[in-house]
């Protein structure tokens, strides 16, 4: 990994190599272009051949002259050969050739020869056999000149060629050196490239490993993990998530989260994701998650985190933990606690009732004692004084007086007996010895019976019975108890009403119950008496001077309640109205 001492050197070295590479390449390119341009053979480099041809032309003219001397050649041949030589001289005097001749120092000689050519021309035209020797002498300098010029041309051309080759060699050497440099730079670049490739491959492998590891972490996590981008599109969905929601990753990744499952469209979840996209972490607990085909929800904990890269938020990541077990445990705890609380309150109530009963018992005895001492003393005193009078009168007493005094004593004793009975009733009630046998019975009949008995007992008190239209008057009750309740109510009404004022009994009813209102025209009660009137042994403010145990209304209410009914004190109005409520009889459903 750390092949280079510093990363800067790792960068500078290849840059230098590239620079060297470029410079050397440019240099060798320029050199090669120069060589390419120089590699062109100029025509004047063919001067050796030109001189040779010229010399041949001169020699052939000389030869033709010799043949003409002997009569073996005609004037046409002579003219042709002379023209050939003339054309060679003309060629040599042409631009490039002339310059070369001057360069090798034969310019003056060529000019002289050219001039002598014009002197030779008439001799050719007027050639006669025998005059060849003079012509040959005139031509002698030509062959000599061409020979010497060819010699010089060869030397000059070889010099020039040698120089040129040397230049080429020099330039090629430079080019070769440049190429070696280029190879070196290329080598450095190659090595750098290979190193950086290896480095990059290694990094890629590490990155891949890290990514694989992250992938493994995500896929093997027991928590559901999902990621969303800013558009709300799912970018990651692991196996645990698939198991919880019931959707495989291919049905989730790339789709809008709200489309994948309705759970993600819930307001709280949406807000959590929105906050996470805004860079805020949040969490939710015990969210019910209904998986695709399951009726019972999973209860899950959610944690929302923003996904950051540097300063930018790329999306949000959501961890979902299945907390159903914990939720169930918590639910069970709550239920247990509730049950316990209920149990405690029940017990408390029981204890309170027990305490209440104890207190009532204590009150009962205390009240009973007070009542006995007060209520029982009066009839006893009445009976006692009646009997004392009888004893004092002795034989003087006539039978009427005896009967009257004895009757008074018996009345007092009968009242005493009633007091004892009602006290015993209350005791039986407390002991749970009184039960109700409920049957179908006509309440109107019971009312008639009780009222008739009442009229006999107290003929001075008018009793009016009225019946509202209530339909059936059959009640579901114990007739004996119902009679006793009505007896109590009527007796009370009689007891506390002014003499001669009527007592009214009215039968009413609604859908479920029958009501029997017993009303007298007595003085109305104050609020405190109203609240306590049904308590055992309570005696109202208006009960002074009237015998009673304070048990009648208490008994009446308890008996009525025992039959599913009640006795209430009706509010307001004139007089006092007590109402007996009994349930209507309903035919059992067959």
């Amino acid at each position: 990994m750390k092949r280079f001492a510093t990363p800067r050197l790792g960068l500078i070295l290849p840059m230098i190599a590239v620079l060297v590479f470029t410079v050397l390449l440019l240099f060798s390119l320029i050199r090669m272009v120069e060589v390419q341009n120089a590699m062109r053979v100029e025509a004047e480099q063919n001067m050796l051949w030109v001189f040779h041809q010229s010399e041949v032309a001169a020699l052939r003219l000389t030869e033709t002259i010799a043949l003409a001397d002997l009569g073996h050649a005609g004037t046409d041949d002579l003219a042709l050969r002379f023209d050939m030589l003339t054309s060679r001289i003309a060629l040599l005097n042409d631009g490039p050739q002339r310059r070369f001749v001057e360069q090798i120092g034969f310019g003056a000689d060529l000019t002289a020869l050219t001039r002598s050519l014009s002197e030779i021309a008439p001799m050719i035209d007027n050639f006669t056999p025998g005059s060849g020797a003079r012509l040959r002498d005139a031509l002698a300098p030509f062959a000599r000149f061409f020979g010497r010029a060819a010699n010089m041309a060869m030397i000059a051309e070889w010099n020039e060629l040698g120089g040129r080759l040397e230049t080429y060699r020099y330039q090629l050497r430079q080019t070769i050196a440049s190429l070696i440099g280029i190879m070196g730079a290329g080598g450095i670049l190659t090595v750098t490239l290979v190193l950086s490739l290896r480095q990059s491959r290694q990094r890629n492998r590490l990155l891949q490993q890290e990514r694989d590891f992250s992938g493994l972490l995500i896929s093997s996590s027991g928590e559901g993990i999902l990621a969303v981008d800013h558009d709300g599109r799912c970018t990651l969905w692991n196996g645990a998530m698939a198991a919880m929601v019931g959707k495989p990753p291919e049905q989730a990744v790339g789709r809008m989260l709200a489309e994948v499952a309705g759970f993600f469209d819930v307001v709280t979840v949406r807000q959590g994701i929105k906050r996470a996209l805004g860079g805020e972490t949040s969490q939710l607990t015990f969210q019910p998650l209904f998986a695709g085909d399951c009726d019972r929800p999973l209860y899950v904990d959610l944690r929302f985190f923003p996904m950051r890269n540097g300063g930018a938020i790329l999306g949000a990541i959501l961890f979902i933990h299945d907390a159903s077990d914990r939720h169930a445990a918590q639910q069970k705890d709550a239920q247990d606690r509730d049950r316990l609380e209920e149990l405690v309150s029940e017990r408390t109530r029981d204890l309170d009732n027990a305490l209440q009963r104890e207190r009532s018992a204590a009150d009962l005895y205390r009240n009973f004692a007070a009542m006995v001492s007060h209520q029982f003393r009066t009839p006893l005193a009445v009976a006692d004084s009646a009997l004392q009078r009888l004893i004092r009168r002795g034989p003087r007493a006539d039978p009427n007086e005896v009967a009257e005094r004895a009757g008074r004593a018996r009345g007092a004793i009968a009242g005493l007996t009633r007091l004892v009975e009602s006290t015993l009733d209350a005791a039986r009630l407390d002991a749970g010895q009184i039960g109700a046998r409920r049957v179908k019975c006509d309440l109107a009949e019971i009312i008639q019976t009780v009222c008739a008995r009442r009229r006999d007992a107290a003929p001075d008190r008018p009793i009016k019975v009225r019946q509202a239209t209530v339909g059936q008057t059959t009640a579901f009750c114990d007739p004996a108890h119902a009679e006793q309740v009505l007896e109590n109510l009527l007796s009370n009404a009689d007891k506390y009403a002014a003499p001669k004022t009527p007592v009214s009994v009215m039968l009413l009813g609604d859908g479920e119950s029958l009501f029997c209102d017993v009303r007298n025209a007595g003085p109305s009660m104050d609020d405190q008496d109203r609240q306590q009137i049904f308590e055992r042994n309570f005696r109202g403010a208006n009960s002074v001077g009237i015998t009673g145990t304070g048990i009648g209304l208490f008994m009446a209410r308890n008996l009525a309640r025992m039959q599913g009914g009640d006795v209430t004190l009706q509010p307001g109005g004139e007089g006092v109205t007590f109402r007996l409520i009994l349930p209507r009889f309903t035919e059992p459903q067959s």
């Binding site: 053979v41 100029e42 025509a43 063919n46 041809q53 041949v56 032309a57 042709l80 002379f82 023209d83 050939m84 003339t86 054309s87 003309a90 060629l91 042409d94 631009g95 490039p96 050739q97």
Partner: protein
Amino acid sequence: MRMRTGALMAGLMLVGGAALADRNDVMLQVTGQIAGGVAALTRDALHALPSVTIETSTVVTDGVHSFTGFLMRDLLDHLGAEGDRVTAIAMNDYAVDIPIADFYDYDVIVAYDMGGEALTRDDKGPLWIVYPRDDHDALQDIRFDYRWVWQLYRLDVQ
């Protein structure tokens, strides 16, 4: 052709012997694979071919010159030549083989006039094979330069 030449000769008898002799001299001999095997062409016959003028520099002179003559391919077509190369032979026995393709690839002419003056035997005449050297880079090469045969007097089609 012969009739016309005859009439022309009769008309020019009066002008002068030298001129007449020049015009009747054979200027170019063609041998080898041509119709009839041998052709001897006079100045008039050569001048009867469509004349073409090209401007070019040469390797043996300075500057650009104007050359007038006939296209080599016109001559070969005229003679019904069949072959793939032509041996051009000069008066000093200089001989060069030229591929016939040259004449069809380039407008190679046989010039009889340079710069408005007829080429003469004591210079580079009477006939000079001229390549349009300045028009084609490929022709600026010594392997083409030696095909510029001057003092041309014979072609052998092979």
